[in-house]
């Protein structure tokens, strides 16, 4: 079996992650924020260790500026719904995932104004077009770091500089890049960074979070959830400090134990090395796809301009048919269709039929890429136009 669906969830996981989770379940198990006994302290230490590892990975100076939640979707909802009020203007791109688009649509109905900057069919964004739509009431620029459909990287550092120049906040959806591409929230001028644990960060599903930078006033970022935090228990008001203000309810301790192990695995390997490995695989994949007749590849077709996610179609075949036959006849697992991103597919010209998406991770090998290419070639050959 060849797993090429890492943009949906990374799999398999290195054994360190499973061991950390089993350790938490067997030996720790207590609530990471609610008591002072030794197991509670140990659970809180494990959660803190995950914050610290993520802070190191992402160039965050204070680990307590990371708030944990269930996934990137929750983090993006917190950032968008928590921050934007009637009369605020927000700028985004045409490549965004529904986890940004749908909260923004809901905010539109509450009187928030929205500008969508169009990317090229290759998914490229011209930062000057962002600058051109800034208004006096612009509050936020929200941008996907790399497309989950075609992998194209967006110029976040340049957009970050524009945001700073105009005094705007900058939210980055790093669901597809955290762990796969070097990120530095300070160098890239990012104020809010949403990440998910279960993709390139090597952690389990049900983990993710939001980095909240010092330019975000906490009293202007409303929590989505309010409740028990283990702190200020005498008060019936939500605490105002990080991370408790945005971490009501018991955290996913076992999940965060796994995520911490995943991030430490990446720190040990080095994200630059991860990136180089994935670049090599992507180049090989793009070269191979270009040689198979009737295969149309989307995106820039340049590995350096994207993450290890490639979308294509086969002339004369539906994406769903290609996906099913890859699974049934060749044991190649991938995702077909619209990938929760109708706007991105409109941008690249593949709405509503979608594409076949092969998304690779650090644990994929050259041999798997070659086998997948050979399988696709034989599938195309055996199917008349």
């Amino acid at each position: 079996m060849i797993y090429l669906d890492n943009a949906a969830s990374g799999w398999p996981k290195p054994p360190e992650i499973l061991e950390a989770m089993a350790h938490f379940m067997r030996e720790v198990g207590a609530n990471p924020g609610r008591s002072g006994h030794r197991l509670a302290v140990e659970a809180a230490r494990i959660v803190y260790g995950t914050r610290e590892a993520l802070a190191t990975l992402l160039g965050i100076s204070d680990p307590l500026r990371i708030v944990f939640g269930a996934n990137a979707t929750e983090a993006l909802n917190l950032a968008l719904i928590g921050l934007l009020r009637r009369g605020d203007h927000v700028i985004t791109s045409s490549m965004e995932h529904n986890s940004v688009v749908r909260p923004l649509r809901a905010l539109l109905r509450r009187g928030v104004e929205l500008s969508v900057v169009h990317c090229t069919p290759q998914g490229l964004l011209n930062p000057r077009e962002i600058e051109a739509v800034i208004r006096p009431n612009t509050r936020l620029i929200a941008l996907i770091h790399a497309s989950n459909v075609i992998g194209t990287l967006l110029p976040i550092a340049e957009v970050g500089r524009i945001a700073r120049r105009y005094g705007l906040l900058f939210l980055v959806d790093a669901a597809q890049t955290a762990g796969a591409v070097p990120i530095d929230v300070e160098a890239d001028a990012i104020d809010l960074l949403a990440f998910t644990g279960h993709k390139a960060l090597m952690g389990p599903q049900g983990t993710g979070g939001l980095y909240i930078g010092p330019r975000v006033a906490l009293d202007e970022l409303e929590p989505i959830l309010r409740g028990g935090t283990g702190s200020h228990s005498e008060s019936e008001e939500q605490p105002g400090f990080l991370p408790d203000r945005y971490e009501s309810g018991t955290l996913n301790g076992v999940g965060l134990a796994g995520l911490g192990a995943g991030v430490r695995y990446l720190l040990e390997a080095g994200v630059q090395r991860v990136r180089e490995h994935e670049l090599g695989l992507t180049r090989r994949l793009l070269d191979g796809l270009a040689r198979i007749p009737r295969v149309i590849v989307y995106g820039t077709k340049k590995a350096e301009q994207q993450v290890a996610t490639v979308s294509f179609n086969v002339e004369g075949m539906e994406p769903s048919e290609v996906g099913l036959r890859l699974d049934e006849e060749h044991s190649i697992l991938c995702r077909v269709g619209l990938h929760c991103s109708p706007g991105a597919h409109r941008t690249i010209g593949t709405f509503p039929e979608g594409t076949v998406r092969w998304s690779l991770g650090y644990l994929n090998t050259v041999a798997e890429v070659d086998a997948a290419l050979a399988a696709l070639a034989s599938l195309v050959e055996s199917t008349p136009e």
Binding site: G36, V47, F241
Partner: protein, 76 residues
């Protein structure tokens, strides 16, 4: 309630700040240990950082340098 001789506790708002402080203090070689907040001091989060009283100034300086918010330091 008398505590161990010559000890103090640092009280925090957030459990995660208490953990951060323990981490930083230990890295400086200070014998710091997280304990349940003594009831007579009872503030908020369930954990406090016990330190030798002789190291109080060093710990305060460390927390301020690292920007770790704490509520108070109390003798045990």
């Amino acid at each position: 309630m008398p505590g161990p001789d010559g000890m103090a506790v640092v009280l925090f708002d957030s459990v995660q700040a208490a953990i951060q402080a323990e981490h930083a203090a230990r890295a400086e070689g200070i014998a710091a240990k997280l304990i349940p907040v003594p009831r007579h001091l009872s503030t908020d989060c369930g954990m406090a950082l016990r330190i030798p009283r002789s190291e109080e100034l060093q710990v305060r300086a460390l927390l301020e340098r690292l920007g770790i918010a704490y509520r108070a330091v109390r003798a045990l």
